[in-house]
Amino acid sequence: MVRVVAPAQPRKLVKVPFVELADGRLQGVVSSGSDAARVYVSSITASTHAYHCSTNNNRPCGGLRGAPCKHLETLANEAVLQYGFDRVARYLRVEPDVAVNTGAALLHSLDARHEPSSAAVVFSRFLRHLSYLEVPGSTTSLPELHWFPSTRTAR
């Protein structure tokens, strides 16, 4: 009856409200430090290690100067907090050196290259993610959830 996927580890969501390993990418959304209405959409593709960062309106991030920007670094760090280092490395198909132990270090250890991609796909997944919080609660039993026990995360 054990869950097939380990539950996510708790982490602060202020800087990176959304990170996921999906669609063959480590991808997510990083809140802008200066403008509460702006977010950066950052992603790195597992198969090619192509990365990109832009605002949700597709304006390229100014921090991309031949290397991953601080948004991508933050995203990678938070991914490691949420999923654990090994799962992130496995998803990105790398076997890092033992000295590499943070998400940002993992990112810089890759032979990564910049390749613009549309923010729309990731951003719409983020909106879909947020929309779960708008789904009304239920007061009738959902018997199928007996297959999904809550379980303690390692503290």
Partner: protein
């Protein structure tokens, strides 16, 4: 629960149990390889399933479906008949196990009172989409599940989630799809969790039939008033859903016998909301939360009930006097009247029967705990201790009394603790899974939570700013 009751429960398996699981395992292997590739072995397993239901009303339907599937058809109606037959076999296993439990505990149980099946209403596009996806998955087999097939679940879940009557189906499919997503390409997995996925798949197919939704709406016929004495809360969650199921004793106002009931409240969530923050997703149920946190009784007035399930109505509930759940269970649980579940819900994984054990010794080997009472042993599962409460494996190991659920998993009976009385620093303390329902009461944990910040508030702020533009 006495030692002799443990002995009666664990003395042996009901007749036919091994054969039934052997049958199911054959079907599960076929579903793993996919219905598009039914070999001789799988054909024999499917024929065996048809044989098992040959004396039931499903006989002709399943026999025809199995013939067509072996001949290469993956039509939805045949796939549904297969899921139905597999569910019927596991339903019978459920009945045998629950019967064994009732005999061992001396528990009385009222049978399910059938009501006429709902007339299917309008054709639901959400249900049709779910059936199509589930059939596609069965044809491909778990081994054939790829990124594209998993991605196809997205719109199916979204459509089902938008219809309140289809919440069960939506939550089930979302949980299954998330597991598949984390495992693709499944062909590369060394071991497929085939029993589990076939269980979820079969239930999904049943819930995706046109008659399934109407039944839930029509099924409430009885109403009760009385005093509710919460025993303990069982917490369920996956990435996008959480449910708090409270097991309780109901003393009916009209003086009838005490009933063993349960009520569940739940919320949609996201994967980054975990731990004690889960309770904050239930702002509309203050009475239930207070009853759990303060260990109080609740007076309910004219609330619907079906079998043992009471849909929760916070507006019809009022806090009553404090109640010690252990004392209530000691006095009232042995003679409380249980109820059989809805026929669709009959599955061994759904068995969760409240029991009280006292005066036992706990022994642990390699992280596996066992309680021993009068020389009789019962295994304890600590995998189901929730992340949102204070109950830990260490407290269970130090306990001498436990309110828990009897479950049946991996071929044996297990005790799932929901509350314990344990000796901590030479004092007896009572710790319940619901203790933090109104906020964390442990200073150290509260500090860590405060440091991490409020996930629910942060995400609601983001949603407020970004969703409505």
């Amino acid at each position: 629960m006495h030692g002799t009751q443990i002995a009666a429960l664990t003395a042996g398996h009901p007749a036919g149990l091994t054969d039934a699981f052997h049958l199911v395992a054959g079907v599960d292997a076929a579903l793993t390889r996919g219905l598009a590739r039914v070999g001789d072995e799988d054909a024999a397993a499917l024929a065996g399933l048809a044989g098992a239901v040959a004396t039931t009303p499903l006989a002709n339907l399943v026999a025809e479906a199995v013939d067509k599937i072996i001949a290469g058809s993956g039509a939805q109606e045949y796939v549904a008949a297969l899921a139905g037959a597999r569910s019927a076999v596991l339903g019978a296993v459920h009945d045998a196990l629950l019967g064994q439990l009732d005999v061992a505990l001396g528990r009385s149980r009222t049978p399910w009172v059938p009501i006429p099946a709902a007339v299917p209403g309008e054709v639901s596009p959400a249900l049709a989409a779910a059936r199509a996806w589930l059939s596609e998955v069965a044809v491909a087999g778990w081994r054939g599940v790829d990124h594209e097939l998993v991605a196809g679940a997205g719109s199916v879940v979204e459509a089902a989630l938008a219809v309140p009557e289809l919440r069960r189906l939506a939550v089930l499919l979302d949980g299954l799809a998330a597991e598949l997503r984390a495992c693709v390409p499944v062909a590369m997995m060394s071991q497929v969790p085939q029993r589990r996925w076939a269980d979820l798949w079969s239930r999904g197919v049943l819930l995706a039939q046109d008659t399934a939704a109407g039944d839930a709406a029509l099924s409430v016929t009885e109403r009760v008033s009385g005093r509710l004495l919460p025993l303990a809360v069982d917490v369920h969650e996956h990435d996008t859903a959480v449910q708090f199921q409270v097991h309780a004793l109901l003393e009916p106002a009209d003086g009838g016998s005490t009933r063993l009931v349960r009520t569940a409240v739940g919320a949609a969530k996201v994967d980054s909301i975990v731990g004690p923050a889960l309770w904050r997703l239930l702002p509309a149920q203050p009475v239930l939360l207070a009853a759990l946190a303060q260990r109080r009784g609740v007076l309910v007035a004219d609330v619907p009930i079906r079998g043992a399930d009471m849909p929760w109505r916070d507006d019809r509930a009022r806090l009553d006097e404090p109640v010690d759940p252990f004392a209530a269970a000691r006095v009232l649980l042995p003679d409380a009247l249980a109820a059989a579940p809805h026929p669709v819900d009959r599955h061994p994984a759904g068995i969760a029967e409240p029991v009280l054990l006292e005066g036992y010794a706990v022994s642990g080997q390699e992280g596996r705990l066992t309680v021993e009472l009068d020389g009789h042993r019962l295994a304890v599962t600590v995998d189901r201790l929730p992340s949102c409460g204070p109950l830990t494996p260490e407290l269970v190991a130090a306990s001498s009394a436990c309110l828990g659920l009897l479950r049946w998993d991996a071929g044996r009976w297990l005790l799932q603790p929901m509350a314990v009385q344990a000796t901590v620093k030479r004092k007896i303390v009572a710790v319940h899974t619901g203790d933090w329902a109104c906020g964390v009461t442990d200073a150290k944990v509260a500090k860590a939570e405060a440091k991490a910040g409020d996930a629910v508030t942060v995400l609601r702020e983001r949603a407020g700013r970004l969703l409505r533009r």
